[in-house]
Symmetry: C2
């Protein structure tokens, strides 16, 4: 369901991370509002939000003439699990190698 590849690609961008922080800190906002706090155009923000939405990190909700974006924590948690799983696997592997080397 959650595509870790897309989540990681989305998080690789500093501007996108700042947008997520802004949404997480000050609650749901529109692209225009977000753009006011960023050094880029509204259009650039819109594109970033599209990437974030594709990764499942934000959801868009229409309210009249404006579109509110809100964060969604699940993909972050999934990506974090993906990482800890790999880290654990590596640790196990390294331990095995060390053990073999000691014999």
């Amino acid at each position: 369901m959650i595509d870790v590849d897309e989540v990681l690609a989305a998080l690789a961008e500093p501007t996108r991370r700042r947008l997520l922080d802004a949404l997480g800190l000050r609650g749901p906002q529109t692209a225009t509002t977000l753009a006011a706090g960023e050094p880029v155009t509204r259009q650039a923000v819109v594109k970033h939000l599209a990437v974030l939405e594709r990764a499942g990190l934000v959801t868009a909700r229409r309210a009249g003439r404006e579109v509110l974006f809100a964060v969604r924590p699940e993909p972050l948690e999934a990506a974090a699990r993906w990482m800890t799983d790999r880290a654990a696997a590596w640790d196990a592997r390294l331990a095995t190698i060390k053990k073999i080397a000691e014999e």
Copy 2:
């Protein structure tokens, strides 16, 4: 110490993730060996390894005429913590907003 920005940027690349998987699965290997299992040149692999090393995800160890690369789990764990922290903060924020809306 560990720069989450660089870790995320490093993990955003599919080839780099595959290289990490190869190293985590089959243990320390040289750039040449790794390149044999990838659809790209050895030079490309070398560049990727440089990025991974800068992020702290791998370490290089010289052994005679070859250079062995090995994974290092710590940066992954740090990045995972970074994510879960943010996810938790968002959850708290969302709960607060929901509570306010209900009153």
